[in-house]
Amino acid sequence: MLKLNEQIYDAIRRHGEETYPYECCGVLLGHSADFVNDVEEAVRAGNIRTDSAHNRYQIAPQELVKIQRLGRERGLDIVGFYHSHPDHPAQWSKTDLAEAHWIGCSYVITAVIDGVAQATNSFLLAGTGEEDKAFEHEVTQVAALEAERC
C-alpha cells in the first residue's frame, strides 16, 4: 500500500501537468514497513532523457545521491518514485519494468491527457531481484489534510 497526503498527491499530479507534453519524474521520501510505503515528502527531479522526453524519463544518479542524502538528514528513506505518461494510460510499460530496480519501492504513474492529470496508479516492485521482479498494483491511500489535523 502507498500512503500519502492530499498535498503530496496533488503536487505529483500537478508536476505532470507542468511538464506536459514531456514526462515528469521525482522521488518519494518516507518510511517503509510491512509492505506499506508511507510518503512524507515528494522531491521533484529533472528528466535527463531530453532526447525523448515525451515518452522516456531518467533521473540523474548524482541527483539521486543528493536526494538520498537529503532524506537521510531528515530521517527519511527513498520509498518510491513517480513519473507521468503524457497522453498514455497510467499503466506500467515493459520499459518501466525493465528499468525498475528498486525492489520494495512504489512506482507511481499519472496519465496526463491533453495537459490534464487523469488517473494516478501505484505499482509495487515485488520480487527478490532482477530475475523475478514484477510490478503489482497497490492500493493508494490519500489522506485528506483536514483529517490529519484531527
Partner: protein
C-alpha cells in the same frame, strides 16, 4: 569510511542503511562490504564480476566509473560511498 545502502538492498545488509568499513581505495571498500555481507555481491556485480549496468556507485558526488583511477581511487575515513540503482522508464 561509510557506505550508504539503498532501501532495496538493505535486506542483504542486516537492514543497515549505512555500513562502515576500513579501506584505502574504492575497490577495497566494496570488497570489504561484500565480505561483510556476501549476499550483496550478486545484486551489485554481474557473473563476470563487473558492476551491474544499472548499479551506480558514487564516491561522495563522483561516479566511480568516471574517476581517473576508478577502483584504485584512494579514500579516507571521511569519504562516503553511495550505492544508487538507476531510475528510468517510460512507455
Amino acid at each position: 569510511m561509510k557506505i550508504h545502502i539503498p532501501t532495496p538492498l538493505r535486506v542483504y545488509s542486516d537492514k543497515q542503511d549505512t555500513v562502515s568499513v576500513h579501506a584505502t581505495t574504492v575497490g577495497e571498500a566494496l570488497n570489504a562490504l561484500t565480505a561483510k555481507h556476501p549476499e550483496l555481491k550478486k545484486h551489485l556485480y554481474s557473473e563476470e564480476g563487473k558492476l551491474r549496468s544499472f548499479v551506480n556507485v558514487y564516491l561522495n558526488d563522483e561516479d566511480i566509473r568516471y574517476l581517473p583511477e576508478k577502483d584504485a581511487t584512494r579514500v579516507g575515513e571521511k569519504d562516503a560511498l553511495s550505492i544508487i540503482p538507476s531510475i528510468a522508464g517510460g512507455y
